[in-house]
C-alpha cells in the first residue's frame, strides 16, 4: 500500500491507504473528519466539498493519492464568519449539506468578498440542498461580514 501524505487544515497526516481511495473516504474513515459528508458519492451534489489550495473540490471523486497541496475541510473553517452567518440567516435545516455549502461559500467570499446574488447563484449551484434553504444561503452569503 503506497504511503499517503496529506496536509489537512494545517496538519500533516501520513497513512497507508489503498490506491483508488477517495479523499472523502480518507478524511472521514481515517482522519475522523466527518464534517465532510458523502451524500451521492459520485460528484453530483456537493456535500463532500473541500478546498484544495482554496479551490472548491468534490472530495468523493478526488483520489486521495492524487492530492497535492493543502486540504481545507469544514473542520478548518469552524471559526469562519460564514458559520454564524448561516445560523443567523436560518440557512441550516437538516444540516447534512451545510458543511459543503459553507466550504464552497468560503472559497467564494475569499475570491470576492461582496458577491452579487447572481454570482452567488452561479458559484453555489453545485451544492444541492434538498430541504430548500437556498434563499437563506443566499442571504447568509450576502451578509457574511455583518
Amino acid at each position: 500500500m503506497p504511503e499517503l501524505r496529506l496536509r489537512v487544515n494545517g496538519e500533516e497526516h501520513v497513512a497507508d491507504v489503498p490506491v483508488g481511495t477517495s479523499l472523502a473516504q480518507v478524511l472521514r474513515e481515517r482522519l475522523g473528519l466527518t464534517g465532510t459528508k458523502i451524500a451521492c458519492n459520485e460528484g453530483h451534489c456537493g456535500a463532500c466539498t473541500v478546498q484544495l489550495d482554496g479551490v472548491p473540490t468534490l472530495s468523493c471523486i478526488t483520489l486521495a493519492h492524487a492530492v497535492e497541496g493543502e486540504v481545507t475541510t469544514i473542520e478548518g473553517l469552524r471559526d469562519h464568519p460564514l458559520v454564524q452567518a448561516f445560523v443567523r440567516a436560518d440557512a441550516v435545516q437538516c444540516g447534512f449539506c451545510t458543511p459543503g455549502q459553507i466550504v464552497s461559500a468560503a472559497a467564494l467570499v475569499a475570491a470576492n468578498p461582496s458577491p452579487t446574488r447572481e454570482e452567488i447563484r452561479h458559484r453555489m449551484a453545485g451544492n444541492i440542498c434538498r430541504c430548500g434553504t437556498y434563499p437563506r444561503i443566499e442571504e447568509a452569503i450576502l451578509t457574511w461580514r455583518d
Binding site: 472521514r28 474513515e29 473528519l33 466527518t34 464534517g35 465532510t36 459528508k37 458523502i38 451524500a39 451521492c40 458519492n41 459520485e42 453530483h44 451534489c45 456535500a47 475541510t73 469544514i74 473542520e75 469552524r78 458559520v83 454564524q84 448561516f86 445560523v87 443567523r88 436560518d90 441550516v92 435545516q93 437538516c94 444540516g95 447534512f96 449539506c97 451545510t98 458543511p99 459553507i102 452567488i120 447563484r121 452561479h122 453555489m124 449551484a125 453545485g126 451544492n127 444541492i128 440542498c129 434538498r130 430541504c131 430548500g132 434553504t133 437556498y134 434563499p135 437563506r136 444561503i137 443566499e138
Partner: protein, 751 residues
C-alpha cells in the same frame, strides 16, 4: 385523574380510532400575537453544530468492530428466487455472514420490482460486502410484470378495494349545470432524495438491541423492530440525534434496519447497512404517479354544483393509496361530489409518504380544473374561489379556518398580474396564477414531555422525539421558555433517544408542533408551578401572587424579584421535574390547514422554457411559534414544489421496469439557481379549539398548491393548458402547439 376516551387519530390523511388516556389540561391559550419568546424569530438550536460539521448523523457513526452490509437486489421487475446459494459469498475474504430470502423482514423470495432486496452480506469492509454480492448464485424464476397502472386497474390488480365517496346527487347536479369542464391530469413519480440516505447501524448490548437510524419516528422503529425480533419493546433502544432529511420516506424501519439487526445478531458485532444514492433512487420510496379524470359542473354565476373524479394512484409493489381525492372532497362548498380512487399494485418501486401525499397530486388536478372553469365562465379565479369557499367539512365544523383572510392577503399579489402580463413580448410571455391549499396538520395525542429545572436555573425539555431538520428543538425550547418565563438561551431540548425520554409522536403529517408543543408547554407549566411553590414557601408569599419573568421569580406587588437559580438553588443537587401530555383534539371538529399561493412565471414560447419568477405564499396554520423557522419551511416546501412541477421525474424503462434516473445528475432537483423570489405571509391566528397552543403544522402545506399555481400562471401567460407534470420543455411545447391549434379552430386561446 386521567380520562379514558375513544378518539380519531390522523396521520398523513389516514384515520384510525384509538383509545387514549387524556390528562385534564387546565392551561388556557396565550393571547394571539408575539409573546416574549413564542411568535418571535429564533435562530436554530444546534444550528452551529450542524454548520460546523460537529453534528453526528447516523451516516457518521463508526462503532468498534463494525461490519458493513450490502443488499442483493432483483434485476427483474417481477421474479421469484427459485434457488439461492450464499456459500460462494461466505467463502470470500472478510465476509462474516449472509442472509437469504425470509431471513430478515424485507428480504422476500418474491421480488415485486426491479431493485427489491432478496439477500444481504456483512463483511469487514463495504467493498468486500459488495464484492460478495456478485458471488451469490441465484436462480430466478421470472414472473409477469405489470408496469402500467391503468392496465393494473383494468385487471383488478389493486391494493385494497377501490375507495368510493359520494355526497348529494352528482349525476343530477351535473346534468343541471350551466357549464361543465372535464379534463385529465397526470402527475409523475418523484423521489424524496434526502441527502442522508436510508441507513441504520445495529448493535446488541446484552439482551438489548440498539438501533441507530436516520428516522422520522423513533417509536415506530422501536415497535417494528421489537415485533420482528420478538423482543419486549423496552429491549429495543432507538437513537437518532441528527437526521439528514426524510420528507416522509423515513417513517418506519425499512429492510436496511432489519438486515443490520439480524446480521448483528448472527455475528455478535455492530452492523451498518446504508443505501447508496443509486439504491436510494431505486428502492427507498416515492411519491407515486397519478392519473386524474376530473369533471366540474357550475352555474353561470360561478357556483360549483358538481365535482367528480376518477383517480388512479400508481402505488407500486407496496405502499398505500393516498387521498388524491381529498382536496376535491374538502376544498370547496359543493353539495354533489363523487369520487373513486384506485390504488394500482404494479411492479414498480414502493410508494412512501412524501410531503402531503395525495394532496399535492390532487390539488394540482383540482386547482387547474377550477382555473379552467374560471376561464370558461369568464370569472376572475380569485373571485371564483371565494364564491365557493367551504364553510364546513362535509357538515363538520372547522376548528378554525381563515382561508378568506388568506385570499384577502393574496389580493396585492394577485393585483400584480396586469403589470406582470404587460412585460410579455413575442418570445417571453408572462403570467400569474393561483391555487388554494387544504391539508391536515392538527397532530394529536399521545405525546409526552418532561421538563427538568436544575439549581443553575436552566431548563431541559426531555422527550424522545426527533428533529428531522425542521427546527423542532428550537420551537419546543421557545414554547418551554415562554411558559417557564425563562430566556430562550436557558432552555435546552434533549431528544433523539427512546431510552432517555417519554413517547413522542412521529415527525410527519405536519404534526410535530401541534402534537408535541402542547405536551412541552404542559410539562413546563408543571415545572413552573413547582418553582412558584418553592418560592412561596421560602419567601412566605402567596403562590398565586408570584410569577416567573425573564428568569426571575417576581411578586405581583413588585416586592420580590429573585433569580430562579436562587430559588431552585436551595435544592442544591435537587431538581424540579415537570411532566406534560398532549390533550385530545376537539371532538366533532375538522382540524385542517389552509392557504393560497400566487405564482408569477415567464414562458419562452420558442423553446418551452418555463421560469418561475415569484411565489407569494399565504398560509393559515394557527399560531406561528418561530417566524424564522416557519419562513424556512415555506421556502423549502415551495422549492421542492418547483422541482416537482418543472424538472423532477423518476423514469422507468417501460420494457424492463428498471429505474433509469438513478443519480442526482439524472434526477433533477432544484439548485440555488432555480429558486424564485418567495414571499411568505401567515394569518397567525391561534386555533382557539386546538390544544393549549392553537398551533397547527406547517411542514407540508407550502408544497401543496405550488404545481397548480405555476400551471395556472402558464395558462395566464400563454393560453396553453398544461395538464401533465413535470412541465418539461417538451410538455410545454406540446401544450403551446395544442393551444395554437385550438386558436386556429376559433376557440379562445387565452384567458
Amino acid at each position: 385523574m386521567a380520562r379514558l376516551i375513544r378518539t380519531e387519530k390522523e396521520v398523513e390523511g389516514r384515520f384510525e380510532e384509538v383509545w387514549l388516556a387524556v390528562e385534564e389540561d387546565p392551561l388556557t391559550q396565550w393571547p394571539a400575537g408575539p409573546r416574549d419568546v413564542v411568535g418571535r424569530p429564533a435562530v436554530r438550536k444546534t444550528g452551529p453544530e450542524r454548520a460546523r460539521g460537529e453534528a453526528r448523523y447516523t451516516a457518521d457513526l463508526r462503532l468498534p468492530g463494525m461490519l458493513h452490509a450490502a443488499l442483493l437486489r432483483s434485476p427483474h421487475a417481477h421474479a421469484r428466487v427459485r434457488r439461492i446459494d450464499l456459500a460462494p459469498a461466505l467463502a470470500l475474504p472478510g465476509v462474516r455472514a449472509a442472509l437469504g430470502p425470509g431471513e430478515a423482514p424485507g428480504l422476500d423470495e418474491e421480488a415485486g420490482f426491479a431493485g427489491a432486496p432478496v439477500a444481504a452480506v456483512a463483511a469487514d469492509s463495504l467493498a468486500q460486502a459488495r464484492a460478495a454480492l456478485e458471488a451469490i448464485d441465484v436462480e430466478w424464476e421470472v414472473l409477469e410484470a405489470v408496469l402500467d397502472p391503468e392496465e393494473a386497474v383494468a385487471r383488478g390488480l389493486l391494493l385494497g378495494e377501490p375507495r368510493r365517496y359520494e355526497r348529494g346527487d352528482f349525476e343530477r347536479a351535473l346534468a343541471e349545470a350551466d357549464v361543465i369542464v372535464e379534463a385529465t391530469y397526470r402527475t409523475q413519480t418523484v423521489l424524496h432524495n434526502a441527502l442522508e440516505t436510508h441507513q441504520a447501524v445495529c448493535e446488541w448490548v446484552g439482551d438489548t438491541l440498539v438501533v441507530y437510524i436516520s428516522t422520522q419516528y423513533l417509536w415506530g422503529v422501536r415497535e417494528e423492530v421489537a415485533e420482528a425480533f420478538g423482543l419486549p419493546r423496552d429491549k429495543v433502544r432507538v437513537v437518532c440525534e441528527y437526521m439528514g432529511g426524510g420528507f416522509g420516506a423515513k417513517n418506519g424501519a425499512g429492510e436496511y434496519a432489519f438486515v443490520a439487526a439480524e446480521l448483528a445478531r448472527r455475528t455478535g458485532r455492530p452492523v451498518r447497512c446504508a443505501l447508496t444514492r443509486r439504491e436510494e433512487n431505486v428502492a427507498a420510496g416515492n411519491r407515486n404517479a397519478t392519473i386524474q379524470k376530473l369533471v366540474v359542473g357550475a352555474r353561470s354565476d360561478g357556483t360549483i354544483v358538481a365535482l367528480g373524479g376518477e383517480f388512479v394512484n400508481a402505488v407500486g409493489w407496496s405502499g398505500w393509496s393516498s387521498s388524491t381525492e381529498g382536496p376535491m372532497k374538502m376544498l370547496y362548498a359543493c353539495d354533489n361530489v363523487r369520487t373513486v380512487t384506485y390504488g394500482a399494485r404494479i411492479n414498480t418501486p414502493p410508494m412512501k409518504a412524501f410531503r402531503a401525499p395525495g394532496f399535492v397530486e390532487g390539488t394540482f388536478g383540482l386547482e387547474c380544473l377550477i382555473d379552467e372553469l374560471a376561464a370558461r365562465l369568464d370569472i376572475d379565479p380569485l373571485e371564483l374561489r371565494r364564491r365557493n369557499d367551504a364553510h364546513t367539512n362535509d357538515g363538520v365544523p372547522f376548528s378554525s379556518k381563515n382561508l378568506a383572510e388568506c385570499y384577502r392577503l393574496a389580493e396585492k399579489h394577485w393585483e400584480r398580474r396586469h403589470e406582470v402580463r404587460a412585460r410579455s413580448d413575442a418570445t417571453w410571455r408572462y403570467g400569474v396564477g393561483m391555487a388554494s391549499q387544504i391539508w391536515y396538520g392538527g397532530g394529536g395525542p399521545p405525546s409526552y414531555a418532561w421538563a427538568r429545572v436544575g439549581s443553575d436555573g436552566r431548563a431541559t425539555i426531555v422527550t424522545a422525539m426527533q428533529d428531522i431538520g425542521t427546527g423542532t428543538r428550537t420551537a419546543m425550547a421557545q414554547i418551554a421558555a415562554e411558559e417557564l418565563g425563562f430566556p430562550l438561551d436557558r432552555v435546552d431540548v434533549a431528544l433523539g433517544d427512546t431510552a432517555r425520554g417519554p413517547y413522542a409522536s412521529i415527525s410527519a403529517g405536519s404534526s410535530t408542533v401541534p402534537s408535541m408543543g402542547p405536551a412541552v408547554r404542559a410539562a413546563a407549566a408543571d415545572a413552573k408551578r413547582q418553582i412558584l411553590e418553592l418560592a412561596a414557601q421560602r419567601y412566605g408569599l402567596e403562590e398565586r401572587a408570584l410569577d416567573v419573568r425573564d428568569g426571575m421569580v417576581v411578586s405581583a406587588d413588585g416586592g420580590l424579584s429573585v433569580a430562579v437559580e436562587e430559588v431552585v438553588g436551595l435544592l442544591e443537587s435537587g431538581q424540579i421535574l415537570g411532566k406534560g401530555a398532549r390533550g385530545p383534539n376537539p371532538a366533532g371538529m375538522s382540524v385542517l390547514t389552509f392557504g393560497v399561493q400566487v405564482a408569477e412565471v415567464a414562458v419562452d414560447v420558442e423553446t418551452g422554457e418555463v421560469r418561475v419568477l415569484r411565489v407569494a405564499a399565504i398560509h393559515d396554520v394557527g399560531r406561528i411559534v418561530n417566524p424564522l423557522g416557519a419562513r424556512s419551511q415555506v421556502e423549502g416546501g415551495i422549492i421542492q414544489g418547483v422541482g416537482h412541477t418543472l424538472s423532477e421525474q423518476r423514469l422507468l424503462d417501460p420494457e424492463t421496469g428498471q429505474v433509469l434516473t438513478r443519480t442526482l445528475d439524472a434526477y433533477r432537483m432544484p439548485t440555488i439557481a432555480d429558486v424564485p423570489e418567495i414571499v411568505c405571509e401567515f394569518v397567525d391566528r391561534p386555533d382557539e379549539h386546538l390544544t393549549n397552543l392553537g398551533s397547527k403544522g406547517l411542514g407540508e402545506p407550502p408544497i401543496v398548491p405550488v404545481a397548480a399555481a405555476i400551471a395556472n400562471a402558464i395558462r395566464d401567460a400563454t393560453g396553453a393548458e398544461v395538464r401533465e407534470l413535470p412541465i418539461t420543455r417538451e410538455e410545454m411545447l406540446r401544450a403551446l402547439a395544442a393551444a395554437r391549434e385550438r386558436e386556429r379552430r376559433g376557440a379562445p386561446a387565452a384567458v
